[in-house]
Symmetry: C2
Subunit: 335 residues, 2 copies
């Protein structure tokens, strides 16, 4: 079985954006209510058949761990009520996808984060999504301000109540920022990758995993800059008297394979312990074109993995299925 | 000849920090003056003989393009006067190094940037350093706020007056941030690498090099995350109808080799056009230890380059000398 740990519903029917546009237009209405999203099951089927399901078939993956569009989370828009309403609708839509195609999609939730707010809302929504909707994880935004980086580091006690709930429910979080409202940061070309690198360094600096021995994070986009700079991180850890990287991340920090060329994937698999790598493609996502050098989609990451030299069948099983089942143990109840 | 394009005076005699401490203590004094830095020539010699010069000899490099300690620039401290006084002292100290060891060091200057301020001060200091002190380039901080990213992108017209002076003097800038005062970003483990990635994406998005056909930037630390994610950037450029990356960066954007393990350097040399790579080590810098896996310093980057498969003598000449002479044409007057 091939499990893609990183897919977003980037092709959602237009009813979702219609809702969001109206919500943003009404941000200052005192009488605003949660409202509703008008999308039919047929629209959902159409949106997936022409994209994610087609790509699953063409590329030979079986299941996608599926969450709302990351760039649209936009936690910096409006206030906590805005974020809650928007998040509930987005997660409910993912739930409908999973009900329509239970063999193809497993849900991961967006969280109703808001800059400067406590995480009580997020804890409630995580519980709802896991216990009521059957989701198996969440996307946690380390920078709900959208590129101004005003939240405390992920190792700060601000996040601890949320981590307690993650541990209790035995679900991991993918560390995933959203749109950037800082002109310095292109969303998918800078902000995403920077956040990945930033989160890793935060984990390296602190003793978070001593406080939470079963807490697990996926750092997407191949771990940002980290595998390329593995020597820098090994050296920094050593200079700072921290544990060796392999030991520090074991069972806690995992990278996906959303790296869109052969040399990058080769490096990832050469350097990072294979137990810490999960197959992912982020399709349909940041890069949608076909690479003229290969004739295949840039984000068809399975092709790169198939060409990595020296992987055994056991290694491939870990990358494509085994590691995902360990990181997301609730997968085993569903698959 | 082997030219190391990236060295900072991280081992400056303690008189420099004594000055800085006093300057910071007196930030609110109305009567503050520029003051002076008490360092003898012997102290300078000692500080270099035990570190940079020793490493040059041991590792077989000839010349280091040398600038003030990057993390100490701290443009967010104090105001424009603070930044100007501090910068002038730091650059004057580099000048003294270059006078004492003209065969070993060539100067690159810090700039008196201040968040939100115009760049007139920086233009003046660049002129002084190039025309009076014989420097060959500068370090430009894209985020003088120190991790809050409040400046406009490097492609914004805010920077254009400074670029005009760079073009007139025919000197490049290394894009280099300083210390982070944002708890999210470890300086050398996150902020530096993020800034490199961010700058590259900014250059990809805009037509800066149409406006300045001879403007040149070095992106340090191996280009941040960029070579590892080269496929992502090629794909983003294609989706955004931008020129191919190789064409976009040719003659304009260069990466150094401050990547501290073999696999990273192998990827850099496999993926990025060799015309766009300059040998650099950042010694003595971010990572000071010895890699137990190799028995050599993490930042002894020449060893990795020596082991890259498939490089010809012509390639090696480019990496170690030829490219540096093109990017820093004033080198040719000195060497």
């Amino acid at each position: 079985m091939i499990i893609d740990c990183h897919g977003h519903y980037t092709t959602a029917p237009k009813g979702l954006q219609t809702f969001r546009d109206a919500q943003i237009e009404g941000l200052n209405d005192r009488s605003r209510t949660k409202g509703s999203v008008a999308i039919t099951d047929d629209e959902i089927r159409d949106s997936l058949e022409q994209a994610q399901l087609k790509f699953q078939r063409e590329r030979g993956s079986d299941v996608t761990i599926f969450s709302p569009r990351a760039s649209a989370m936009a936690h910096h828009v409006g206030d906590a009520t805005t974020s809650l309403h928007w998040t509930e609708h987005c997660n409910d839509l993912i739930h409908r996808v999973c009900l329509l195609y239970p063999a193809n999609f497993v849900g991961v939730c967006q969280l109703p984060q808001t800059p400067g707010n406590p995480l009580a809302n997020c804890i409630q929504e995580l519980e709802r999504c896991v216990n009521e909707l059957g989701f198996i994880g969440c996307n946690l935004n380390p920078d709900p301000s959208g590129g101004h980086w005003t939240a405390p580091p992920l190792t700060d006690r601000y996040w601890y109540p949320f981590y307690e709930k993650m541990v209790e429910l035995d679900v991991p979080a993918m560390v995933h920022v959203s749109a950037s409202c800082n002109a310095n940061f292109h969303a998918t070309g800078a902000h995403y990758i920077n956040a990945d690198t930033t989160a890793f360094m935060q984990f390296l600096q602190a003793d978070l995993f001593k406080d939470f021995p079963t807490l697990r994070f996926i750092i997407p986009h191949g771990g940002g800059a980290v595998p390329y700079h593995w020597g820098r991180y090994r050296g920094l850890a050593q200079d700072m008297k921290r544990p060796p990287l392999g030991e520090l991340i074991r069972g806690h920090v995992f990278f996906d394979t959303c790296v869109y060329h052969q040399a990058g994937i080769d490096l990832l698999c050469r350097i990072v312990p294979l137990d810490n790598i999960l197959f992912g493609s982020e399709m349909v996502g940041a890069v949608r074109g076909i690479d003229p050098e290969t004739g295949h989609h840039f984000d068809d990451t399975r092709r790169y993995l198939d060409k990595v030299p020296g992987l055994t069948d056991g290694d491939r099983h870990k990358l494509f299925e085994g590691n995902a089942r360990k990181v997301y143990p609730r997968l085993n109840r569903l698959l």
